[in-house]
């Protein structure tokens, strides 16, 4: 399990619709903020990178200091799953993204969920954290 990991889902309108600190390190508020800043900045790179490849998993797209940003862009809604991490477990991250993507699609199928709005389901949250424990 990675010591630092911050997972975020960004909708096509660049709104974060889900945020989770899934690292094992003790949570610090300023660190969490920095994570979000890095992820936010990485959107610029993901935005360009997404059009250069047909793969949904973009691998590590950006880094700041020791923290690496990996991204996964869903095809259907251009939703970006982004993970900030300090480990280099590429396969685990890929699997993590794929499973979360599936979860996200399930959320999308919920008729009461307005695409592009915040994911508030606690079930989703629990599942994502479990996946993080499993793969990261």
């Amino acid at each position: 399990m990675a010591t630092t990991a911050c997972f975020i889902i960004v909708s096509r309108n660049d709104i974060p619709i889900y945020e989770a600190e899934v690292g094992s390190a003790a949570k610090r508020e300023d660190a969490a903020q920095l994570h979000q800043f890095i992820l936010h900045a990485a959107l610029d790179i993901v935005q360009d990178l997404a059009w250069t490849t047909s793969a949904m998993y973009l691998k590590a797209v950006d880094r700041f200091n020791d923290l690496v940003v990996s991204a996964y862009v869903t095809a259907e809604t251009h939703t970006r799953l982004m993970l900030l991490h300090d480990s280099r477990n590429d396969d685990g991250i890929k699997s993590f993204f794929q499973e979360v993507h599936e979860l996200y699609i399930k959320t999308l199928l919920n008729p009461t969920y307005l695409p592009g709005s915040r994911i508030t389901s606690s079930h989703f949250d629990t599942k994502v954290r479990a996946l993080a424990r499993k793969y990261l």
């Binding site: 709104i15 969490a32 903020q33 979000q36 800043f37 936010h40 610029d44 709005s117």
Partner: protein, 1197 residues
Amino acid sequence: MEPDVSIETSSMIRVAVLPIGHVPPVLLRDYHSMLLRHQSIPLSAVSSFYTEHQKSPFAHQPWDSGSLRFKFVLGGAPPSPWEDFQSNRKTLAVIGICHCPSSPDLGSVMDQFDSACRAYPAALVERCFAFCPADSQLEDGSKKGWNLMLFPPADRATQEFHLQTMMQDIAASLLMEFEKWVLKAEPAGTIVKTPLDSQATLNSEEVIKAKKRRLGRAQKTMGDYCLLAGSPVDANLHYSTALELARLTGDFFWYAGALEGSVCALLIDRMGQKDTAVEEEVRYRYNSVILHYRKSFIQENAQRVSPLTFELEATLKLARFLCRRELAKEVVELLTNAADGAKSLIDASDRLVLYVEIARLYGTLGYQRKAAFFSRQVAQLYLQQDNRLAAISAMQVLAMTTKAYRVQSKASTLEDSLPKKETGSSVVEGGKMLHQSVVSLFESQWSTLQMVVLREILLSAVRAGDPLAAWGAAARLLRSYYPLITPAGQNGLASALSNSADRLPSGTRCADPALPFIRLYSFPLHPSQMDIVKRNPAREDWWAGAANTGPFIYTPFSKGEPSNNSKQELIWIVGEPVQILVELANPCGFDLRVDSIYLSVPSGNFDAFPVTVNLPPNSSKVVTLSGIPTSVGPVTIPGCTVHCFGVITEHLFKDVDNLLLGATQGLVLSDPFRCCGSARLKNISVPSISVVPPLPLLVSRVVGGDGAIILHEGEIRDIWISLANAGTVPVEQVHVSLSGKHQDSVLFIASETLKSALPLRPGAEVTIPVTLKAWRIVLADADTAAGRSAFKHSKDGNSPTLLIHYAGTLPNTADPSTEKSVVPPGRRLVVPLQICVLQGLSFVKARLLSMEIPAQVGENLPKPVHIDNSLTEGAVGTPNKMDRLVKIDPFRGSWGLRFLELELSNPTDVVFEISVSVQLENTDHEHSLSVDRDATEYGYPKTRIDRDCSARVLIPLEHFKLPVLDDSFFVKDNQADGSGRSYSFSERNTKAELNASIKNLISRIKVRWQSGRNSSGELNIKDAVQAALQTSVMDVLLPDPLTFCFRLSRNGPGAENIDSHEESNDQVDSSASKGSVMAHEMTPMEVMVRNNTKELIKMSLNVVCRDVAGEDCVECANATVLCSGVLGGITMEVPPLEEIKHSFSLYFLVPGEYTLIAAAMIEDANDILRARARTKSSDEPIFCRGPPYHVRVVGTA
């Protein structure tokens, strides 16, 4: 590290620009900007100042195309330890700038300049530019030596030309100095050192090594000077040599330096032409540069000095060179690497420069979020330095990031996002807000980041001592993120706001609104008292039909209008106060005091009145904002101006609307109004408002209080309505009409009074009486009224309203130009008559009672009814007439009294008094015989009905008998029937005749009631009476053809010659003799037969005397009465309208009660009589019977 480096930096001559003496900052900036125009001086321009002293080392100088480049450093820079390594780091020239008016003594200026130049030992040229000298200074300055340049006051163009010449001179001087330097360096081999070289005493091996390297380094430095001199080909030659030498000696650092120089020379040579080959070359060489800088890293002095900065600078230079959208990936890679180097940098300021450069490059690349990220890193570095200047820098840097994080101040968004806002608002107004566009309003809501950035801006602004920026940041933070801030944090922000406001001058405006949230609550249209009506000057009734343009009820053109209806139009009037309701919400945990809030009207023709509001924590409040339009024209109200937390801000309704829209979609954190417990409100759009010139304004008042007028059913009352003109324009036209339900309850409006008061000047008042009659409560209402909830009936919908249309002067229609112009609208005053009808008397039923009370046979004849009719009005006062109606005088006989009995019940809780009046109609004149009205005078009580009681009221109907039975009654109806058959009565016209006569009869009966002192009214009983009278109207209305009377004629049959009229007056005198007849006495009697028709009637009269048992006691076997005279079969002819006496005598054997009845068989009856008798066949005899008369016989048997 140095900021703003690029590959070309190596070819720039660094010039320090120093202010000498006091130079106002504005002027200094101005002079500096003049210098900046001369950053590049073409060699061709320099040539005139250039003199070749010896052979130039720059053999390949491109005199026609090359140029010298300057880099002006305002304020100078401290000497760099690396200036031997890169000559462009040396400050090679110093330019002093002096503003003569503020530094009068040129001597001291020169002294200051000289001492300032001492800080720049490498400077080859020093000049002091003195601007705007006085004449004395001009004279003085010419003596002062060659490096003081005076710029005489002149126009800008002249000065600039002068400055250009000076700069060309400096350039030429520098060029000559460079030549000198290169010539001097070539043979000698100057010692050049860098901090990288070991400071320790060199051992022998190293000395030898250093000697070897020296040559290469000298070549590299000469190459630098060639570059500065603008000769890239010469520079390239030197660099090639230097590269070779450095490679041989393993001098990686200098190798990289020379390589950098060669790239610069290449680019200068190509004059900025970038083709892929050059680009490839540059990329290749620079990667090598970076590699060699990295190689030159020496572990032992890493603590002290490191070539890392050069590596990073080279990276940045390459990145800047490549910085294009197409190469974004490559640039990002370079910048990411550069950013990685930051943590190895020793000097904090180096890191600062690095981040600044990275941020700038990302910005150039179009990666705004990346740029913002590094800008924020810069700001954090600034904030780590604990001083005010750093804080100001941090604040400015953060202000640049606000756009990327979407927390910008409104002031900065105003220009660039204007078109975007326009489209957004139009979509909202269209009502077809697509989901996507809703979402797009809330793009990039990274609330965590936004809060952090705002907090940092607040912090830096506080440290920098910029209260306005601090206020703005705190306001944005509080307004946008209050749901994420703890109450303590909210309080902190509130105090930050007030602390900042304390330092601001009062009346400061800030573009960013803080609290409260303000939304439009409602836009009250005109109260009905002030309604404005379009005036149609073409019509007399100008208020009607102004909207209707065609003859059709439906026009297809009006079909499209409903969509426009949402945007209603509002007309305001100059000088008349208007109100708008807004709702304020304070979703935070502290008491909010809004010092003043008023409508903000950019159109400027509106005086808004400020109000002060206090909002407790988590509360919302609806506030009425008012104002007065001041001039004609359209008014726009985009929002409110709020003075809160010591600063004036503008709150736009549209922003809050968007926010609420987002809240409904779940895109915004919270709906501030909802969390304050306010209900959801539909979107209210600001109508388009136009202001028109003053109009008259009528104000109505019901005299005696504006409360509901409480009336009982059928009550009639006068009220007075006072109308006053509260406007500033006289009322010229006025028209009163009625609308609403129960319009018939308004009996009378004195509109003439109103019209006669025109024109009604401002301030004038007129009072008009209105007569009301309460309507009947319908059955459904009566049911609820059973529960005594009578006030339920006072619902507004039930009452009629007075519509008063009025208007001021019409413009002069004679003038054709004004005819086209807009007619000032009229107005409508709606005066609701608040009538509350209580249940009054209720009518139970009516029936007709027929009574036949036998009269006593007396000396007097009972007066026939028709005689009453001949009485004059003076007879009203005759009391015995009253008697006759109420009581039956037994001596006057009876002729079949008929009464209408009305049964009334009083379910209310007040007492009613009933009076009946009958209106009599005569052929010649009409006079009302209101019996009970007279009775009041004479002490007769009204019928009083207590609460919850019933009572019966008798209405005698005898007065309706016509005096004469003639054909007129029937003829009238026959003619109406239209048929030619006179005097023949079929069933159907009898029916019609009946109805007409009943109606006639009923309309004359009025039942009035009175309750208390001042409520009185009339019962509506027409239907009931009609039903009761339906069958027997003829009997009621028409007299019998014959009337019979009996009387005693004591003096014998012949003695009776006194006229009945007189007798009636003598009644009192003869009262003693009336009453009884003695038994065993011959009693002379008379029967009088009156013909009520206009024709002679032949008949045979019979008189019958019956005893109490009803048996005929004259004719039967054991007769108790003897008679003399004829009693049966008396044939007589009665002339029309006259009476005939027939005398006879009776002898009563037995005392007791007897009844005399006269009857007659009419012979040869005509049609009228037949109709009256309702006979069918013409041969049927018509039988007439008089009323019974009582004879009391006293005496002994």
